[in-house]
C-alpha cells in the first residue's frame, strides 16, 4: 500500500463525509433557488392551483415599481451605513476587550450577546425602548437632555435611523468577536518593535493593527453586508416596515407581495433580483477588500 493510495483513500472518505452536507445544501438552498427562479417566470398566486408561464413579464414590471425602488434603496443605504458603523465599532470594541483578565472575558460575552438573541426578540425589546413613552425617552427627558419625547419610530427619517441603530447594535456583537479573534493573532513583538522605533498609537493602529486584522475585516464586512441585505426579522418586529413604508426592506416587500398581494410569481422575481444584488455586492466588496489585504 503506497502513501499515495493512503491519501487517495483518505480523500475519498473525506468526500463521503461531505456528501450529507452537500445534499442538505442542495435540498435547502439550491433547489429552492431554482424553484424560485422558475416561479418568477409565472403569474403564480398562493391561493390558486394553477399558474401560467408569462416569460420575463415580472422582471419588466420591476422597472415601473416605485415601491421596489424605494425598498431597494432603503436596503442598500442601510446595508452600507450599518456595515460601516458596526465594523468601525467592532474594531474599537475589539481593541478595548483585547485583554486576558477574567473581567474582560466576561465583557466579551456581553459584547456578543446581541448576536445570540433572536432578531424578533431584539426588535420587540427595542420597540419598547424606543416607543413614544419608552425607556429611552424617559431617560432623556428625565436627564434634561430633551424637553419632549422624540418620535424614534414615528417619523420616517427617525424610524430609518432607529432601524439602523438597532441593526448596528446587533451586528457589532459579531464584528467585535471577529476582530477580536484577528487581533489576538497579532504578535505583541510587532507593537514592541514599533514602539522602540518611536511609532505613536495612531501609527501603530494604521501600520500594524489594520493590516493584521484585514482578513478578519473582509469576513466581517462581507457577512455584515449579506445580513443587512436580507434583513427581515428586526424590522418586522420593530416597525413592520412603517411608518408609511419608510423602513420597508426588500425582504419585507417580498413577503408582502407574496402573502398580502397574492403575487407569488412577482415576489419570486424580486427575490431573484435581491439574490443577484446581494451576490454582486458581496463579491465586489470581497474582491476589493482582498486586494486591500494584499496592498496592506
Amino acid at each position: 500500500m503506497t502513501t499515495h493510495a493512503h491519501r487517495h483513500r483518505g480523500d475519498t472518505a473525506l468526500g463521503a463525509l461531505a456528501v450529507p452536507a452537500l445534499g442538505l445544501y442542495a435540498l435547502f438552498i439550491i433547489v429552492p433557488v431554482i424553484m424560485s427562479a422558475v416561479t418568477s417566470l409565472t403569474d403564480e398566486n398562493p391561493l390558486l392551483a394553477h399558474a401560467s408561464f408569462i416569460g420575463a413579464a415580472n422582471y419588466t414590471d420591476m422597472i415601473h415599481d416605485d415601491a421596489l425602488t424605494a425598498s431597494l434603496s432603503f436596503t442598500l443605504v442601510m446595508a452600507g451605513a450599518v456595515t460601516i458603523v458596526a465594523n468601525a465599532a467592532g474594531i474599537g470594541f475589539a481593541m478595548l476587550l483585547n485583554k486576558t483578565s477574567l473581567s474582560f472575558r466576561a465583557m466579551r460575552t456581553v459584547a456578543f450577546l446581541p448576536q445570540v438573541l433572536s432578531g424578533v426578540i431584539v426588535g420587540f425589546v427595542w420597540r419598547y425602548i424606543l416607543a413614544q413613552d419608552g425607556i429611552l425617552n424617559h431617560i432623556l427627558v428625565g436627564a434634561g437632555i430633551i424637553d419632549r419625547p422624540i418620535t424614534w419610530l414615528g417619523s420616517p427619517n427617525l424610524a430609518m435611523f432607529s432601524v439602523g441603530l438597532v441593526a448596528a447594535w446587533v451586528l457589532t456583537g459579531f464584528t467585535t468577536v471577529v476582530h477580536l479573534a484577528a487581533l489576538q493573532s497579532v504578535p505583541v513583538e510587532l507593537y514592541q518593535a514599533a514602539m522602540v522605533d518611536g511609532a505613536g498609537p495612531g501609527q501603530r493602529f494604521r501600520r500594524i493593527t489594520l493590516p493584521m486584522v484585514a482578513p478578519g475585516t473582509t469576513i466581517s464586512v462581507t457577512i455584515s453586508l449579506i445580513t443587512m441585505l436580507k434583513l427581515y426579522d428586526i424590522i418586522a418586529a420593530l416597525t413592520s416596515g412603517g411608518p408609511a413604508d419608510a423602513t420597508q426592506s426588500t425582504a419585507l416587500y417580498i413577503v408582502k407581495l407574496a402573502f398580502t398581494d397574492d403575487r407569488f410569481g412577482y415576489a419570486s422575481a424580486v427575490a431573484m433580483l435581491l439574490l443577484v444584488v446581494s451576490a454582486v455586492v458581496a463579491l465586489s466588496v470581497t474582491a476589493v477588500l482582498r486586494r486591500r489585504e494584499v496592498d496592506l
Binding site: 398562493p46 419610530l153 408609511a244 407574496a258
Partner: protein
C-alpha cells in the same frame, strides 16, 4: 443491507411526520375527525376564550376534535395564505376577509336558510350573494369616543354634530392644553382610523356604492370629493390635533392613554367599548364622525364568526361546529363584554345575553338597532364592498404618510395605482 434497515424506519418516521403536519384527518376506529381552526388572539379574545369556546362547540359535534391554530398577528388573511401556500389551509377560519379566498374557490358558503333563520341582517356580509361568515355580530368602525370631563373642562357642552363643530371642538381642546385626539399611529390599522371615519362619512355617506363603483372604474381616489375628504384628515394632523409623535404610539398604548384621560377623543372601532374602564365608564361617550351638514352616517361591518374551507375533508362536521360556535350564547357574552361586539341574533335583546355592559355600550348599540344611514366601514367591510387583496396595507401606509405630508393628490394617485394593479 444495513442501509436498508436504517432507511425503512427513517422513511416511516418521515411519513408519520408528514401525516402529522397535514391540515386535517379523518377516520380511525371510532370514526373520529380532526379539523384545524385558525383563530387569532387580542387582549379581549384571549387563548382562554378560544379554548373555552372551542370546547363548548365541540361537544355538539360527536367525534370531532378541533386543533386550534393561532395567527401570529392580527392579519389572519396573510397567515391563511401562507398556510394555503404550504398545503395546510385550515378547515375553519375565524374572521378572515372572504372575498380573496372565495375568488380562489377556497370557501364553502353557509346554507342561506339557516342564516335567514338566525340573524338580524342575513345578507349583511354576503359576498356575491353568498354568506361565508355568519353575521353573528357587528361593529361600528370607527366611532368617535370622547371624554366628557375633558370636554367640559374645555367648555364644550355637547358632542359635535357637524364637521365645523368638530374642528371647533378640537381647536378649543388644543387651546386648553388638552390633546384633542388620541392616535395609536404606530400600528398601521390604528393610524388609518380617522381617515376611515372621514371617508366613510363623506364619501360612502353620499354614495354608499362608491367601493363597487371603484371596482367598475366609475370613480377614483383622485376624484375631487375624495381628495376633499382626505384633506380633512390632513388638516387634523397639520393643526396638531393628534398627540405629538402619534405615529410612534402603539395601539395598545393609545387605549391606555385615552382611558387615562391623556386625550379628549379617540377614533376607534366599537371593540374599544370592551376596554372602557368599568369604574369610571360614565366619563365616556361616543358619536359618529361628523359630516359637513350634520347628517348621521354609521360606518358598519358585520361578521364575527368563521368561514369553512371548501376543501375540508369533513364538510358536515365543520359546518356543524361552525354553526354551534356561531349560536353559542357564552361566546356572545364574551364578545359583547370583552370585544364590544354588537350581537345580531334574531329575537334577542341585550338582557338575553346576561351581560354587564356600560352605558356607552348601550348608547352605541342604538346606532345599530335604529334606522339610519349605515354604510360599509371603509377598508373593514367583508362583503361586496371589501377592498381588493393587499390594498388595505397601501391604505394604511397612505394614512401614515398623510400624517406628515401635504401631498394628498400624490397619495390618492398611489392608491389608485395600487387598486388598478390589485384588480388587473
Amino acid at each position: 443491507m444495513r442501509h436498508n434497515r436504517l432507511l425503512a424506519p427513517c422513511l416511516a418516521a418521515g411519513l408519520v411526520l408528514i401525516a402529522g403536519c397535514s391540515a386535517a384527518s379523518t377516520g380511525g376506529k371510532s370514526g373520529s375527525t380532526s379539523l384545524t381552526y385558525l383563530t387569532f388572539e387580542t387582549p379581549s379574545l384571549t387563548a382562554s376564550f378560544w379554548d373555552t369556546s372551542i370546547a363548548s362547540a365541540q361537544k355538539s359535534v360527536p367525534g370531532l376534535t378541533i386543533k386550534k391554530l393561532v395567527a401570529p398577528s392580527t392579519d389572519r388573511d396573510a397567515y391563511a395564505k401562507q398556510l394555503q401556500a404550504s398545503g395546510q389551509f385550515p378547515d375553519l377560519l375565524q374572521s378572515i376577509t372572504p372575498s380573496t379566498f372565495v375568488q380562489a374557490g377556497l370557501l364553502k358558503p353557509y346554507d342561506q336558510g339557516w342564516v335567514d333563520a338566525n340573524f338580524l341582517l342575513p345578507k349583511g356580509n354576503a359576498y356575491k350573494g353568498n354568506v361565508y361568515i355568519p353575521p353573528t355580530n357587528s361593529q361600528i368602525i370607527p366611532m368617535v369616543f370622547y371624554n366628557k370631563k375633558l370636554f367640559a373642562k374645555a367648555g364644550i357642552g355637547q358632542p359635535p354634530k357637524t364637521w365645523s363643530e368638530f374642528t371647533a371642538a378640537c381647536a378649543k381642546l388644543h387651546t386648553a392644553g388638552i390633546t384633542p385626539i388620541e392616535l395609536g399611529g404606530g400600528d398601521p390599522f390604528a393610524a388609518s382610523m380617522p381617515l376611515t371615519g372621514i371617508l366613510s362619512a363623506d364619501v360612502l355617506g353620499k354614495n354608499p356604492s362608491w367601493l363597487q363603483d371603484r371596482y367598475a372604474g366609475k370613480v377614483k381616489f383622485t376624484d375631487a370629493n375624495v381628495e376633499t375628504a382626505v384633506a380633512k384628515y390632513r388638516l387634523l394632523a397639520k393643526n396638531r390635533y393628534f398627540e405629538d409623535g402619534a405615529l410612534g404610539v402603539k395601539y395598545a398604548d393609545s387605549i391606555t392613554n385615552f382611558t387615562a384621560g391623556k386625550a379628549a377623543m379617540y377614533m376607534m372601532g366599537s371593540w374599544f367599548l370592551g376596554a372602557v374602564p368599568k369604574d369610571h365608564a360614565d366619563d365616556f361617550g361616543a358619536f359618529m364622525t361628523p359630516t359637513d351638514d350634520g347628517s348621521l352616517v354609521v360606518p358598519f361591518a358585520v361578521g364575527g364568526s368563521m368561514a369553512i374551507s371548501a376543501k375540508t375533508p369533513a364538510p358536515d362536521k365543520a359546518t356543524a361546529f361552525a354553526k354551534a360556535w356561531s349560536l353559542d350564547p357564552a361566546n356572545y357574552k364574551a364578545l359583547i363584554e370583552g370585544d364590544g361586539a354588537f350581537p345580531m341574533l334574531k329575537g334577542k335583546t341585550l338582557a338575553d345575553y346576561n351581560v354587564n355592559v356600560t352605558q356607552v355600550f348601550k348608547d352605541s348599540y342604538t346606532y345599530v338597532l335604529n334606522q339610519n344611514t349605515k354604510v360599509s366601514a371603509f377598508g373593514w367591510a367583508t362583503n361586496d364592498d371589501s377592498m381588493p387583496s393587499g390594498l388595505n396595507d397601501d391604505y394604511y401606509a397612505a394614512s401614515q404618510a398623510l400624517y406628515n405630508s401635504d401631498d394628498v393628490a400624490g397619495q390618492m394617485a398611489k392608491l389608485d395605482a395600487a387598486w388598478d394593479k390589485a384588480t388587473k
